[in-house]
Every structure is written in C-alpha cells, then in structure tokens.
Symmetry: C2
Subunit: 163 residues, 2 copies
C-alpha cells in the first residue's frame, strides 16, 4: 500500500491566517478559542464526545508544500531529523494537537488552545485518555534545553508555501 487516501471530515477555524505568528504548539495558544465544523455526514460520530475534557485532533497541514527530512526547528539553531521534531515539512504533513473541548453544539466543536492555521482540514478526532496518552518524565533528547520555549515561541514562514 504505497498511497493512502483520506478525506476531510471537517474544517477548523482559528484566528491564525498566516504561518507568521501562529503558535507552534497548543501550550503556546493557551486560551485561544476556535471551532471545528464537522461535516454533517459525520455528525453521528460525535455522540458522547462532550464528556471528554481534551481531544486529539489530527489535521492536514494544508499550507506546507515542501518536504525536508532534516530541519532546523523553531526552537533550536541546530538541525535535526524531521521525525525528531514537530516541524510541519514532514513526508506526510499531518498535524497533531491536543485541544481543550469546551462544548459540542450539533456538528460544531468549541475548542481552546488552537495552534493551527485557519481552515486546516481535519482528518480525525480521538478522545484524550490520560491512562493511555499521558506520560511524564520521558527523555526528550535535544528538546531538553529548549522545550520551555513552547509556551512563547511562534512560527515564522520558513515552512510555508510562499517562501
């Protein structure tokens, strides 16, 4: 199976219309609100999602049109393999953000801590389950020195299509 086809299940709306000045992780977008509009044909899949405090959102990084296997990420001046970073220029430009779910109104999810570009196509939503998804005190390699900057760092246009 060399090519895999996925479909857009919804669109996320955020205040960020340009890669310039978009937070690079949800921890840098604390309190920033957005909405995910799930296509009506998938609305039945949202049943009982409102009981969860956080959701994992997978989305297509639709502005990325380059692929770089070695990147200099926003948080470092040295280069690293793209799979050792969360940089967007991956072979498959899939974004993963863990968002706070405030409420569900029919096919619209009201979310918080959005760090994605406006109109990013959503491809999956999963409930965040701490007993499965939460691990503390893991080794974090090159990020050990830099990861506190996630709270403040913003992206620039180094990975966007206009460069």
């Amino acid at each position: 199976m060399s090519v895999i086809h996925y479909k857009t299940i919804g669109i996320i709306h955020t205040p960020f219309t340009s890669a310039d000045a978009t937070p690079i992780q949800p921890t840098g977008a604390a309190g920033v609100k957005g909405t995910i509009h799930i296509k009506q044909e998938y609305q039945d899949g949202l049943q009982d999602l409102d009981g969860f405090g956080k959701i994992i959102v997978l989305y297509h990084l639709h502005h990325v049109q380059q692929e770089h296997l070695v990147v200099t990420p926003f948080l470092d001046s040295r280069s690293h393999g793209v799979f050792a970073t969360r940089a967007p220029t991956r072979p498959n430009p899939i974004g993963l953000s863990i968002l706070t779910l405030n409420r569900v109104e029919q096919n619209i999810l009201h979310v918080e801590n959005v760090d994605m570009l406006n109109e990013s196509p959503v491809i999956d939503i999963k409930p965040y389950i701490p007993s499965v998804d939460s691990f503390a005190d893991e080794h974090i390699g090159w990020l050990a020195k830099a990861h506190e900057q996630f709270k403040h760092a913003q992206s620039d246009n180094r990975f966007s299509k206009n460069r």
Copy 2:
C-alpha cells in the same frame, strides 16, 4: 481539499497477525517488542530521534474496511460516536500509539508496547513531549468506568474485514 494523499514511510512489525487477541492500546501491550522499518529514503529524518524515550506513531489501520460512525467499543456494552472512542472503524482509519523507543539502528526503530497489527503501514512519527502531550485528570466521559480495562482488554474481530 476533499481527498488527501499520504504515503507509507515504513512498516511496523509486531507479533500480532490477527485482530483477534491484539491488545487494544499500548498499555495492554506492556513489554511487547516490535520494530519499525523506515524506508531508506526517509532514514535521514530519524536523526536525533534516539534521544526521546517515547514516540507517537501514526499508522494506517490497514485491515479495517468498514466505516461505522456509531460503535460499541471493546470496553463498553453501549454504543458511542466513533470520535468518542479509539475504535478503528473511523472515516479515516488512522491509528495513534505512543510507544517506548528502545533504540534506533540505521533505519530500524526498536520499540516496545506495540499494540498494532503486524505490517501496519506507518505514516508519521513524532517525538513525545510531556510538556506538550501529557495531561492528567481530564474528564474522560463514558470511559470513566471502563478505562482501567485497557490494561487487560484485547480486541476481537468485530471491526476486521473478515466479519
């Protein structure tokens, strides 16, 4: 953008060749070892990954050929929207597992706690970063009663193509 194309970047090898008796989450596969063979053309992207203790693996659930928006998951006798579960019959059958990374040898990742079917196509690997990805004490909806069972529950063939 209605159809999104991704490519297989590697294949994961696990002891599980049938949906019957495959653990349903990495917490149920503690200590089970596997390997991810990244295609050589993507090997440069692995640089510095070995510093991370855990990785997020996104993979294609290649045995799933059904789509059900409302499912009765392995851990409950009641039905829920598929986006409120980790069941595989999603509109886009993408699996997400957080694995322990033991070591990297060239293009081969030696991993632990594998809960996926053998030969699942891998589409992305990201470093697990606790300050970004770890949240405790969130509301977990319908799972509040059931989630301890992740450690013991195994799948059956209810979602596989042979049923």
